[in-house]
């Protein structure tokens, strides 16, 4: 065999050997990691299983019923409460903009369905704008303060808007 050819094969074999060794090391490391992770998973699954059993034990309907009697006093749903399904309840329409002047407020009040109006009426200090001098009312409305919703309706509207 001639020298350059032999050198090539020696180098190739050596490189392959080193490469193989390196890969084997890496793979072994990964394999150990994998085995460790799997062991942890199995241990955790076992723990979850034990905790599920404990959770079920602590959630015995009899126990919950007793706790309810003592602290909550909840009662089963009466048929008359079920006459209307959750899907049939109309979504409340968006309330009037908070910064609105008196004339927009009036329009919003007529557009709102009765329960919403009731709600609005129930929270007059929040909803009804304070009487303002004519000069201020004529000025452009100040931007709504997003950080501080003024009523529940406004909060809902804000959340709905941000989605």
């Amino acid at each position: 065999m001639k020298w350059p050819g032999g050198a090539f094969w020696i180098v190739a074999a050596f490189a392959a050997g080193v490469g193989n060794y390196a890969v084997k090391q890496v793979v072994q490391g990964l394999d150990d990691d994998l085995t460790n992770v799997r062991k942890k998973i199995v241990a955790e699954q076992k723990q979850i299983h034990d905790l599920t059993a404990e959770w079920t034990y602590l959630n015995q309907p009899e126990l919950l019923a007793d706790l309810n009697r003592r602290y909550l006093g909840l009662v089963p749903i009466a048929p008359k409460q079920e006459r209307v399904g959750i899907d049939e309840i109309a979504i409340r329409s968006a309330p009037a903009p908070l910064q609105s002047g008196p004339e927009i407020q009036a329009v919003a009040a007529t557009a709102m369905p009765p329960p919403a109006t009731k709600m609005a009426a129930a929270t007059p200090p929040m909803m009804a704008p304070a009487p303002v001098p004519a000069a201020v009312a004529a000025a452009p409305p100040p931007p709504a303060d997003k950080a501080k919703p003024v009523s529940l309706d406004a909060l809902f509207a804000q959340v709905a808007g941000s989605r």
Binding site: A12, V23, T35, D50, Y57, Q60, P61, P79
Partner: protein, 598 residues
């Protein structure tokens, strides 16, 4: 030859040394040709090896540098760490609530030899162990510690906390043996359904016994049709009936009429499957027997008037009677040594709906006589009332019906069977056959296992759709005007039939020892669920005006159960006065008439 000769010609060469030729000697053309061939072969072999090494190197580069075949998980899969499968699979309810599971529970044993060799003070060890495990007897432990034997169990199961405490003691020779223990987190709630296991993890009762091979073999959780929430409601209300009427026991079962799935089954008194009562004949008490007995699957009862559902269906389906037929119920029937009377007799000729609503024994007996023994027997057989019910429980736990032999099935038997006496079946029979009466006429075998959504449920037609519609109307009539007005639950269109049977004790019926039962279904215009409740030896009280009959005991309980479980089972209430529902349940012959109150 040349080189060899040259060596030989060396004068300084020692005489004894004759080196071998160091190169092949080419003698002639043929030898040279042979050498060439060999060289070519060598070259080919070297090329082949080079190729193989190149492939290996190429693959290395591919794996390391190019992350080749990243999805190839053959190597990773070859040695997975998997937890050993549990000795018994979990049992869960239809919503995934755990009903039975195996928890690690090591046993504690002592190797007395090691302990004594280590020079441990037995008394100190006993004190330490009893502090951690106060349930054990100190004398017993001491005896085991000093026995000198190399193995003695101190206890067969430890909780993780106890295991930790004992381990902390560090007593030499006190060792743990890994083990699993079957646990029932819901305790007595599902006692009779799930049953229990022996220390060696073998099913002893309930589904643990009936499904033992499936639970042991698969490792996958067994999903039951049972709904733990509905089960709680049923048990809670039955418990109330027992305390309200000072009864001996009670039982109830709730079934889906379209699939045969049993969503609740309770039998009281019951037991805690974590600490089952002994079944050892030497130590078993009457109370143990009573608690471990499942009235629903094993109890064979003469259920009384609830059987009139089948009697009426038989007459209507075989054209023995129509809804407008009438039967004479003016006078009691004297036959042999029996007298058949009505509990609240109307003493007049009654139509079929009236016989059903007032629960007339006389009318029912006459209807059955018109049908004859053969028809009656065949009809009951068709409903499966003469064979054990096919269900997942062990055969030994499923009751066999008692009824007269065909040759002894005489007229008196025909009459008494019409109102549920002289034939004893299990409540499971009763509910299975009743479901077929109201679901459109298809008999589905009952099942404790959840039926997957959309799965085809086996079933055979036993009565026509028309007869089934009529039975629905009759059962609704009983709640509207008849013996079960207290079973009404507004919005759920309840229908049903009461049965108050005197218990047969030693061959004669005892007037004061009743078995009151009510079978109800809802909503009657489109039945979804059927409920059977029964109470064993109730005693009348002030609220029930001294009555212990079904109409006063289990019928109101059924109303309460329905109101509590309907929202859980997704049955929405309806307007019972709506024209559609009124029309669907109106009996034509009674249109415009009001039935007199029962």
């Amino acid at each position: 030859m040349l080189s060899a000769q040259r060596l030989d010609e060396n004068p300084c060469r020692p005489r004894h040394f004759k080196p071998p030729p160091c190169a092949p000697v080419v003698a002639d053309g043929a030898a040279a040709e042979f050498l060439d061939t060999t060289r070519t072969r060598l070259l080919l072999a070297a090329a082949l090896f080079a190729l193989i090494f190149l492939v290996v190197a190429g693959r290395l580069v591919d794996v390391v540098a190019m992350a080749g075949a990243a999805n190839d998980t053959r190597i990773a899969r070859s040695h997975l760490v998997v937890p050993p499968p549990p000795a018994r699979a979990d049992i869960v309810d239809r919503n995934g609530t755990l009903l039975a599971t195996n928890l690690d529970s090591p046993a504690l044993y002592v190797d007395s030899k090691i302990m004594l060799q280590a020079g441990e003070d037995p008394d100190a060890a006993v004190r330490a162990i009893t502090t951690a495990l106060p349930d054990l007897s100190p004398a017993d432990i001491r005896a085991k510690l000093v026995s000198g034997k190399s193995f003695a169990y101190l206890t067969r199961s430890l909780t993780p906390r106890q295991e930790y405490a004992i381990n902390n003691l560090g007593i030499p020779g006190v060792e743990f043996e890994p083990g699993e223990k079957r646990r029932y987190p819901l305790g007595d709630l599902v006692a009779h359904v799930v049953g229990y296991c022996s220390v060696d993890n073998i099913g002893q009762a309930g589904l643990e016994r009936g499904l033992n091979p499936a639970i042991k073999g698969s490792g996958k959780p067994v999903t039951l049709a049972l709904d733990a929430r509905v089960q709680f409601v049923l048990k809670d209300e039955l418990q109330q009936v027992i305390s309200q009427f000072n009864a001996k026991g009670a039982a109830g079962i709730i079934m889906n009429v379209h699939t045969g799935e049993i969503v609740a089954m309770a039998s009281l008194p019951d037991f805690d499957p974590n600490h089952p009562p002994t079944t050892d004949p030497k130590h078993e008490t009457a109370d143990d027997k009573d608690r471990i007995f499942n009235k629903i699957t094993s109890g064979e009862y003469e259920l009384g008037s609830v059987f009139k559902i089948f009697n009426t269906a038989m007459a209507l389906d075989n054209n023995v009677a129509t809804m407008t037929s009438t039967f004479d119920a003016r006078n009691p029937i004297e036959i042999g040594r029996f007298t058949i009377e009505d509990y609240h007799g109307k003493h007049r000729v009654l139509s079929v709906p009236e016989i059903f609503a007032y629960s007339s024994n006389i009318g029912s007996a006459r209807m059955a006589v018109a049908a004859g023994p053969k028809l009656q027997r065949d009809f009951l057989a068709k409903l499966g009332l003469l064979d054990p019910v096919p269900i997942e429980f062990d055969k030994a736990d499923v009751g066999r019906p008692h009824f007269p032999a065909p040759s002894a099935w005489r007229e008196v038997n025909v009459m008494t069977i019409a109102f549920g006496h002289g034939i004893a079946v299990t409540p499971l029979h009763m509910i299975t056959a009743t479901a077929a009466m109201i679901n459109g006429g298809i008999l589905h075998p009952p099942t404790m296992l959840k039926v997957p959504d959309g799965a085809k449920v086996p079933g055979v037609r036993v009565i026509s759709q028309k007869t089934s519609d009529q039975i629905r109307k009759l059962m609704r009539l009983v709640v509207e005007y008849g013996t079960a007005k207290l079973a009404a639950a507004p919005g759920y269109v309840v229908g049903g039939k009461t049965g108050t049977a005197e218990k047969n004790v030693g061959g004669h019926y005892e007037e004061k020892r009743l078995l009151s039962s009510f079978i109800g279904a809802f909503p009657m215009n489109d039945p979804q669920y059927v409920i059977l409740t029964l109470v064993d030896e109730p005693h009348g009280n002030k609220e029930s005006h001294g009555y212990a009959t079904a109409g006063w005991t289990v019928a109101p309980a059924t109303s309460r159960i329905i109101q509590r479980i309907a929202p859980l089972l997704g049955v929405a209430p309806v307007d019972e006065k709506s024209p559609d529902i009124v029309r669907a349940l109106q009996i034509e012959s009674l249109a415009g008439k009001k039935l007199e109150d029962y």
